[in-house]
Symmetry: C2
Subunit: 169 residues, 2 copies
């Protein structure tokens, strides 16, 4: 089965992100707005209990994390993705590292640049147009995130939450 680990921002930020995703994100219907901490990973379903136990241990030793969202950026020209920039703090990096270590040891596929995707599969013209307009908006949010969610992918490519873990460090 395919799993991943994410942080969900507040409802307010999710609603804000969805107002763009609805128009600009081809994956809008498949998952709610999120910060990916561990990318899609294939695990044997029999290993799930052990994985959940490991995630519980990580959460038990992690303090609630600050999520600071500051502006809109793009991965273009590498990738025509539009995203809300999340400041890469030491806390977020430490969490990312723990989720690529121990039982979940795995070299990360990408450099860790925390973000909330709000557009993808855009043409160059669309991307440029949206970025220009959004540069004029003040996009700032700051909030405390108290839990992480382990997600799994269904056959229809939607992602559902399997379990959440509170940060109790």
């Amino acid at each position: 089965m395919k799993i991943g680990v994410v942080l969900f921002p507040s409802k307010q930020v999710q609603d804000f992100a969805n107002s763009y995703r609805k128009r600009y994100d081809t994956k809008y219907a498949l998952i709610s707005p999120h910060v990916t901490i561990k990318e899609r990973t294939e695990i044997d379903e029999a290993d799930l209990p052990k994985v959940l136990e490991y995630l519980q241990q990580v959460a038990d030793s992690t303090k609630p994390v600050q999520l600071k969202i500051d502006g809109v950026r793009s991965f273009a020209p590498t990738n025509n993705v539009l995203y809300l920039k999340v400041l890469p703090t030491r806390e977020l990096s430490a969490l990312h590292d723990k989720l690529h270590d121990g039982l979940l040891k795995q070299p990360p596929k990408y450099e860790f640049l925390p973000h909330i995707t709000i557009g993808q599969d855009l043409t160059d013209a669309e991307l440029f147009d949206v970025l220009e307009r959004m540069r004029m908006e003040q996009v700032h949010f700051e909030e405390t995130i108290n839990r992480m969610a382990v997600m799994y992918e269904l056959e229809n490519e939607t992602w559902n939450v399997y379990e959440t873990f509170r940060f109790r460090g």
Copy 2:
């Protein structure tokens, strides 16, 4: 904010339900297949921590529940909804009762008939046609559910998981 409490069946059952929902359920994209234990309820966001604490207590005193799915039924003519019938066990009723008591005290809107919706807003002809075909299939699943999920509704009417609670009774 609007919350609800649900049980998610296994990925296998969700994939099975979605194979019908894709065609027959107008709310297919808004939530994954589920058994509703507490219907959409408006709460003050400031009360959320207390509500979560109450749900934690309920989960702490509830044993994992058996989910027995047996056949396809419809609420027609009251409501052109098609669903997987979930056997109404004492355990499920007890959980439903606890979620309509204490801090969440509220008369239930409907009699509790546990089910997994796979079609809604169908015409009479569609409903009859699908029911006839599904009566020939053997639809039986039995599994143990270890957690419940508290959901909240976003502005785009999708439902996301806020937190899950393991049954530890």
